[in-house]
Assembly symmetry: D3
Homo-oligomer: 143 residues x 6
Amino acid sequence: MIYLTRRERFSAAHRMYRPDWPDDRNLEVFGKCSNPNWHGHNYVLYVTVRGDISEEEGFVMNLNILKKIIQDRIIKKIDHKNINLEVGFMKGKIATTENLSVAIWNELKPFVEKDGVYLHCVKIEETENNSIEYYGQKDRDDQ
Amino acid sequence: MIYLTRRERFSAAHRMYRPDWPDDRNLEVFGKCSNPNWHGHNYVLYVTVRGDISEEEGFVMNLNILKKIIQDRIIKKIDHKNINLEVGFMKGKIATTENLSVAIWNELKPFVEKDGVYLHCVKIEETENNSIEYYGQKDRDDQ
Amino acid sequence: MIYLTRRERFSAAHRMYRPDWPDDRNLEVFGKCSNPNWHGHNYVLYVTVRGDISEEEGFVMNLNILKKIIQDRIIKKIDHKNINLEVGFMKGKIATTENLSVAIWNELKPFVEKDGVYLHCVKIEETENNSIEYYGQKDRDDQ
Amino acid sequence: MIYLTRRERFSAAHRMYRPDWPDDRNLEVFGKCSNPNWHGHNYVLYVTVRGDISEEEGFVMNLNILKKIIQDRIIKKIDHKNINLEVGFMKGKIATTENLSVAIWNELKPFVEKDGVYLHCVKIEETENNSIEYYGQKDRDDQ
Amino acid sequence: MIYLTRRERFSAAHRMYRPDWPDDRNLEVFGKCSNPNWHGHNYVLYVTVRGDISEEEGFVMNLNILKKIIQDRIIKKIDHKNINLEVGFMKGKIATTENLSVAIWNELKPFVEKDGVYLHCVKIEETENNSIEYYGQKDRDDQ
Amino acid sequence: MIYLTRRERFSAAHRMYRPDWPDDRNLEVFGKCSNPNWHGHNYVLYVTVRGDISEEEGFVMNLNILKKIIQDRIIKKIDHKNINLEVGFMKGKIATTENLSVAIWNELKPFVEKDGVYLHCVKIEETENNSIEYYGQKDRDDQ
């Protein structure tokens, strides 16, 4: 088993809050990230897949295919967008990096996983100091 | 003459557009950056001052003073904000990194410059690939 | 299970040596790092916690709480200090990055772990080329 | 168990292709990386070992020893070389980063592993966006 | 005057040598960089232009235009290529980063400079430790 | 004129204080950097030289020569040392990054400058947020 990681970037606006909470509770829990006028980030996304090396090509997975999946399924839908208002796969979710990682995992998994390749990790850096890693819900015995 | 640079960061939302233009012209000129629902960035700000080394302290300028000026005059007003809607010193300006650099220069200059210290450069990285440097309007004979 | 990582930095002096060894043996084992007049580093600390995403807040753990714990328990005690002479939790230990990682783990664990959140990893970069990761002593079945 | 990582760099030329395929098939599978006139990269290599902290020295492994092994076994043989033509341990293999990671693992393992130290991971960044990690073939129960 | 910098990357093979010198002299002057079997790098290119901020658009220059010029004139011709053998604008020149910077400057200048915008600097990082900056041959009174 | 920059690193301990000041004044001016038990940094040093490109070799200056000068004149004398106690060229000076930059400039200048090559800039990053640049005292008309 070998692991291949592709790094992509997107810039987006978001706001962390619950619509069913009053502003002061949102402020208490989410701090300045709950600003109703939005703020934004340069998110860095790392997608890791695992599999065996194909003897024929020497690859776990052709990087051009992985790049295209990430572009089509994620970047085109989120780059230069408002995560709360415009990103279908985040609809109804609190726009935390945790929820974003799980949503991106779910978006990518059906497209990435075939021919013995598995989605292994979705990592998102929100700033240079904060990041989230998600490895899926189970079957992590070979992580 | 010696140059001291302080790096600070802020995350903000913005939109590049002219309210007096129709949407399609904004889209043509500003591309995806004109998205009406905003997007955002982790901006990196570098403030450079120049001066002589004080014989008494060995400093161009005490970094704690410079840090406090940048925090008070810029970061507190722009971090986790919407640059178009909430940042006083950007009011009425197109929210490009060029205009932002000049505005930050103008905000900092009166507070930074004293005792033989001059503001030398305001540099802003909007993404890892794009940045702007502004050195002020004149008197750059010692740049 | 999802993983949240916070990056913090501290600058400190240290010396790697054993007081019960003669200088030449210290020099042989620890090289220039055994310099009796000290040297120092900009250490970069990554603290990773794991847990489930709270449905209410969308967080593994509120980052402001994690930041405050790291600041109070580690950074305030070690930043701009001499690790050998001034840092209580390193008393009597050889000031290697390995021992520092374990000591920081032990300092953080009781404060970080509650409500289903576990300390997962303490990583320290001593230079851009050298780093240590510590995952605790057992119960790493879900690492 | 604690993990020590050493970062080293090398610059090399390579070409990804199969000599038993016609040019157009090489181009189809390997894209511009199959250029017969070569291209190259600044590869970044991370070697991670794991073990217990020696009570005597406070180390997993003396970094100077690890550095010397990586220099002697890998860097001297691959830096400023053509991976396809000049690197013995890549002879007959497609010059993908996957195959390179496994080959470097196999070169390092016999020299790194002694006195309770195990080779844990070989990671190679080919560009800032693409990387490979290899953890060996089995016995990863303590990864 | 304000400065806009765009960062682009390319991976290429090269060899530093003079065909009119014997191998041992090439080796003496260019060291391991004269390897006849080539080596390569991930080059990082920074192109800086200067000009006034357009009142209408708030830009020095539209970044999409600058990006396209750099892509068309440089990246497409050099990325994943052999600088010595395949890059027209380096023909007959020693493939040093110095010569490459001047050649890229000359390629870009006629396309970048119009409407009050001037090419200001071409910077190339060959590795994380080595870089070259070229500011053109004269008229640097406003640098 | 073209500019060549070499990046080197050193790790050192220091303390910013004046021996002729009482501790409380040192604390007031230099803050936590005046800690009598020292602290330290991973300093990053950038040395820039300028000159014409040699037609014979395509270089401003042979990098191996520049590297050796920086190693011999600076790195060997300061890496893993105490700047206040052990570095001859800092004797009697307050150990600020400003003074360090000027001292390194003075150490390098006589060895770097020959055959039409000039020392252009000494830049030191003390942390990822703080840096100093020194361009020498005069004759900066071609900076």
